[in-house]
Symmetry: C2
Subunit: 154 residues, 2 copies
DNA sequence: ATCAATGTAACTGAAATAGTTATATTCAAA
DNA sequence: TTTGAATATAACTATTTCAGTTACATTGAT
C-alpha cells in the first residue's frame, strides 16, 4: 500500500462531475456521486471539502439545488492538482526512531535521503501533471463504453 | 504516510554495510547494524532476509563470524534494486469498493487509472535507479562528517 | 417556514506497521 | 563433539491510519 485510495476516489469524483457537466451545468449532490463511486456520501463530502479548499470544486450549501460542481473546466484540472489537494504528506518516510548521530552514516543519511526522495517524488508528480481530468474522462469512457450496460440513469 | 519507512531502513542497512566493507571484508551481525540504525535487531533481520532473497546481501548463519555483508559492490546496487526488494505493492491504490459498473465512468476508470499510475510509478523508479548505494554513502558522509562526534567505534 | 442538501464530530472495524519476546536452528571453531 | 554466537521465525503488542457509518447541527433557495 502506498498512496491512499482517497486519491483514486477524488479523481473518480472529479471525472464524474466533468462527465455530467458536459450535459448540464448544475450542482450535483454527494449521494448522486456516491452512486457511481460506490462509497458513503459522508466520506465523499470530506474529500469534496478538500477539493473545494484547493479551488477545484464549488459548493452550494442549502436549498433545493444544493451540491457540487467543477470550479473550472476539466481541461484545466491536472491530476497533480488533485494530488496536492488530497495528499498532504511526503511520498517517502524517513526513520521512525532517529538513527545514531555518533555514527558517520547515521548522522548524514537523513539529509542525503531527503534530496533523493524529493527528486523521486517530483518525477512522479511531473507525470501526473501531464494528464487532465478531461483526458482521464475520455480514457475512462473509451475503456468503459465497449461493454457498459445501457439505460443507466446517472 | 506513503512508502514505508522499511525502505529507509533497508537503505540505511546497506549503506552501513558498504561503509564497513571499505575497511574490512567480513560478515557483521544484526545487532551491530542496529546500533547505527537504532532499531531492533529482529526487525532488521526481517528486512535483511528480504534483501538476501533479492540477492543484495549474503548471510552467514552460525559460528563466531556469523552475520551479513553485501553480495556485490555498492556501486552495483541501485536504490531501485532495494525498492523492488522490500516494497512489493504498487504505489497507487485503486478503489476499495468496486465502482458502479452501470455507470460509464465507473466502468472504465480503473483501467484508465492503471495506465497513468503505472507510468507515474515508473517515473519515480527511474530516479531511484539513477543512484547507487555507493553514491548514497558518499552523500551521507558529506552531510554527516562536518559535525559527527569523533571517536565512535562502529 | 420548508426541506434538501452540506458540515462535522464521534465512533467502529479492519489492516498495516513497527517493534518485542521467546524459542528453535545453524554452524564455525575450540 | 561440545560450545556459543549468531540467525530464523512464530506469536504477540501497541500504535496509527484508513475507510466507512451514525447522528446531529447548519445552511439557504424556494
Amino acid at each position: 500500500m502506498a498512496v491512499v485510495s482517497r486519491y483514486t476516489l477524488a479523481l473518480h469524483i472529479l471525472s464524474w462531475l466533468a462527465f455530467r457537466a458536459e450535459k448540464k451545468d448544475e450542482f450535483l449532490p454527494s449521494d448522486r456521486i456516491a452512486n457511481s463511486v460506490n462509497t458513503s456520501p459522508v466520506f465523499l463530502r470530506r474529500i469534496l471539502g478538500q477539493l473545494a479548499k484547493a479551488g477545484l470544486v464549488l459548493v452550494q450549501h442549502g436549498g433545493t439545488g444544493a451540491g457540487w460542481k467543477l470550479a473550472r473546466k476539466a481541461e484545466e484540472i491536472s491530476l497533480l492538482d488533485v494530488y496536492e489537494a488530497v495528499v498532504p504528506t511526503p511520498l517517502f518516510e524517513l526513520h521512525h526512531s532517529q538513527p545514531n548521530p555518533k555514527c558517520l552514516v547515521g548522522k548524514g543519511i537523513q539529509p542525503a535521503l531527503r534530496d533523493i526522495y524529493e527528486e523521486s517524488e517530483v518525477a512522479m508528480k511531473q507525470r501526473l501533471a501531464g494528464t487532465s481530468i478531461a483526458e482521464l474522462v475520455t480514457s475512462s469512457l473509451a475503456y468503459g463504453s465497449a461493454q457498459a450496460e445501457p439505460g443507466f440513469e446517472h
